[in-house]
């Protein structure tokens, strides 16, 4: 693949290969010398039109671990409001030698537009576009699940039969969309949970089950619960009444945690609102994958860079 824009359309074999490559990269990161020379002489430009320190640092760490040169462009708010267009910005960066553009943008479709526009020749990696997708997050989530569930026998496996609940603001979540497509491709059973206000309309064709309270979803028995960050300002737009009510119906509380199977995993893409969508004690528990997810994020992003570079050689 030339670009990494979306998990939709990635076939099962490619997905498993990406997970296995992520495992290889995770191994590298356990070694004494934590670097590969793969991208020596290549430049990875992180282009962030939206604040995300942790995602940016993760991509920077991934690029450095592959011996790439890294340049970073950050600009708050929409490109147009800044007076320079996305097109001009990325063309400038490519002229400075960027071989990979890692794009975080507030507009859905920005990475796809960049990949299809003909504006540049560089590889484009979507680091989150509006409320569309965040495909490297889905890759690291799937990798985290697979390694926690299957341990040393994880390599080469999919997630057939694994039951995953994704709860929260599905409507506005790029993490949810990317996870839906990738987890379904890997054979997992995905259940989406949200009040009707935070669930997209007309998603009957999605490969998921849909319920509207977390208790209903957990009653079915699950292997992992992925809690999404809830933006507090959604309250002001009448998506739900207040924090207490959100927690009551959609929060991963200790009461709910105590009622599920003892080995149920609890995931969160971060940053967390402790006490709102996830109880602090759960986030810190042995069932939590939160810190694994951060660590695997670097390996997953290394795997994507590595895989895209392979396209140049072929």
């Amino acid at each position: 693949m030339k670009h990494f824009i979306s998990t939709r359309g990635i076939d099962s074999a490619t997905a498993i290969r990406l997970l296995d490559t992520t495992a290889d990269m995770a191994d590298v990161r356990q070694r004494d010398v934590k670097k590969l020379p793969t991208l020596r002489g290549k430049t990875v430009a992180n282009v962030f039109f939206e604040d995300s320190t942790r995602t940016r640092l993760s991509f920077e760490a991934a690029a450095l671990a592959l011996s790439a040169d890294v340049s970073t462009f950050t600009s708050k708010g929409s490109s147009v409001s800044k007076g320079e267009s996305l097109k001009d910005t990325v063309q400038t960066l490519e002229s400075m030698g960027a071989d990979f553009i890692v794009l975080r943008h507030c507009d859905s479709g920005a990475a796809a537009t960049l990949a299809q526009s003909g504006w540049i020749n560089a590889h484009v990696i979507n680091a989150g576009d509006g409320t569309h997708e965040h495909p490297t997050q889905a890759l690291l989530d799937a990798y985290t699940l697979r390694s926690r569930l299957f341990g040393d026998s994880a390599r080469g496996r999919n997630l057939a039969g694994v039951r995953i609940v994704i709860v929260g603001d599905i409507l506005h979540s790029r993490v949810a969309r990317s996870n839906v497509w990738l987890l379904a491709t890997l054979g997992a059973h995905v259940t989406l949970v949200a009040p009707r206000t935070l669930m997209p309309r007309d998603i009957a064709a999605w490969p998921v089950a849909i319920v509207h309270t977390l208790d209903e979803a957990l009653d079915e028995g699950v292997d992992a619960v992925m809690t999404l960050r809830i933006q507090k300002e959604r309250m002001n737009d009448a998506f739900f009444p207040d924090a207490a009510e959100y927690t009551r119906f959609w929060g991963m509380t200790t009461a709910r945690f105590d009622a599920v199977r003892a080995n149920t995993l609890v995931m969160h893409p971060g940053p967390m609102n402790r006490g709102l969508e996830i109880a602090g004690s759960i986030a810190d528990s042995a069932n939590s994958t939160v810190r694994d997810q951060v660590s695997h994020g670097v390996a997953a992003r290394m795997a994507v860079l590595y895989t895209l570079l392979g396209e140049d050689a072929s």
């Binding site: 490109s79 097109k87 479709g109 920005a110 796809a112 576009d129 509006g130 998603i203 064709a205």
Partner: protein, 434 residues
């Protein structure tokens, strides 16, 4: 000077000759004599000059994307002889000075009759009434008022506007879009917006405003025109209103007769338009609505945008598509070639009725002796692979590139002046440039 059009099929009917003198049709039939200019129109269909009730000419203020002259040429190329220039210019056409400026520039261009539309509210802000009486009594004699691009969302203001405009015999053309239901809206709300993560523009935001407005029109006894309706539910509301005898007319655009929201798949901003492209069911319902007369007219909503406002992310892109040059071909493709309507119906929905709604003189007895020589000759058997090279205006944001479309405007006469000859725009000496 006299001109004879030989053997044109009159609105799809029997061939006849049409004799034009001094801007008027002076004879229609078989023995109309000789003339200075003779045009062989065998195989061509003669339509009355097309009238667009919904055109954005961008001047004043947006001359980089269109001017009154360039838009007039695009209109002539599409077979139009009259266009209604929407009020959302800069400055807004909310006073007599701006509408008279637009009207005068239209006269200077000379390709079509440019009828300025006046704003309903000052600066399209939806807060206080624009200078409606002054515009109605200006040289431009405005009869159509619209905040198009924005909806008159406030119910009280809409009631007053309907009553006040009716005082001067005009009509309000409403852009039906509940503002609160469409904050940041980017495309039709449905399966495609859910997948693409683009904020939805729900159908109910259009239908609820139309339902409110037809009831206000009934209550006030005023006329209402509904711009560019796009959903099956909107067609139902209009049908219900007409059955109740409410004075409402409705328009559909060519693009809503053909294109669907799945075209947003690749985030190509050429398909970003307001109201948005809807679903196949909506397209079918809008077509049936035109065919059964529920929808009175087709209007282009020609909306030129420079490349900078389309060469960007979907969310940053402007809403709108150019449509003057392609309108007749799309209507033929979607409605005539599908057997839903005939060419006499095309004359009705693209000329006679829009002229009546806009109070444009000279279109009530099309292609008859004594009427103005506003005539469009179209070759229905021609096919064109559509592309930007078919456009005559200043912007190239057509959504139809690559489609094979039927029909071609071969000649256009505006009050007897040949504005398009053999498919090419005739260079008129510009009064304004002379």
């Amino acid at each position: 000077m006299s001109t004879i059009i030989r053997k044109a099929s009159i609105m799809g009917g029997d061939p006849a000759d049409i004799r034009i003198e001094d801007g008027q049709i002076v004879a229609v039939g078989v023995n109309v004599g000789g003339a200075d200019v003779e045009i062989d129109a065998s195989g061509l269909i003669a339509l009355p000059g097309l009238v667009d009730l919904h055109t954005h000419l961008r001047e004043p203020g947006g001359e980089s994307s269109e001017t009154i002259l360039s838009g007039s040429r695009a209109a002539a190329a599409g077979g139009f002889t009259a266009v209604h220039a929407m009020a959302n210019t800069s400055p807004v056409a909310d006073n007599a000075n701006v509408v008279d400026y637009v009207y005068r520039k239209g006269l200077e261009a000379g390709y079509v009759e440019v009828r300025p539309v006046g704003a309903v509210t000052h600066n399209l802000a939806g807060e206080s009434l624009a200078d409606i009486g002054a515009m109605a009594r200006s040289t431009a004699a405005v009869t159509v008022f619209s905040d198009d691009g924005k909806c008159v969302g406030d119910s009280l203001l809409m009631r007053r506007a309907l009553e006040y405009v009716a005082t001067f015999g005009g009509v309000i053309a409403q852009h039906a879009q509940d503002p609160r239901l469409t904050i940041d809206a980017q495309m039709n709300e449905g399966a495609m917006s859910a997948e693409l993560g683009l904020a939805g523009w729900p159908r109910v935001a259009e239908e609820a405003i139309i339902a409110r407005d037809v009831l206000l029109a009934e209550y006030t006894g005023a006329r209402l025109h509904v711009c560019h309706l796009s959903t099956a539910g909107s067609v139902e509301v209009i049908r219900w209103a007409k059955q109740r005898g409410i004075q409402v007319t409705a328009e559909a655009t060519p693009h809503h007769l053909l294109l669907t929201d799945d075209l947003a798949q690749n985030y190509n901003p050429l398909f970003k338009v307001n109201p948005p492209l809807r679903t196949r069911d909506d397209v079918e319902a809008v077509r049936r609505g035109v065919a059964d007369g529920t929808i009175d007219i087709v209007a282009t909503d020609h909306a030129p945008h420079g490349s900078a406002t389309k060469d960007c992310t979907w969310s940053d892109a402007s809403f709108g598509m150019v449509g003057l040059e392609s309108a007749l071909s799309i209507v033929q493709h979607a409605l005539v070639d599908t057997g839903l309507i005939g060419w006499a119906d095309v004359a009705r929905i693209m000329s006679t009725t829009p002229a009546r709604i806009g109070s444009v003189d000279g279109y009530d007895a099309p292609l008859t002796v004594g009427s103005l020589a506003n005539i469009t000759l179209v070759d229905p058997s021609a096919t064109t692979v559509w592309g930007a090279d078919k456009l005559a205006g200043r912007s190239t944001n057509t959504p139809f590139t690559g489609l094979t479309l039927p029909g071609r405007v071969v000649h256009t006469f505006f009050r007897g002046t040949h504005t398009v000859r053999d498919g090419s725009i005739v260079e008129l000496s510009q009064a304004g440039n002379a």
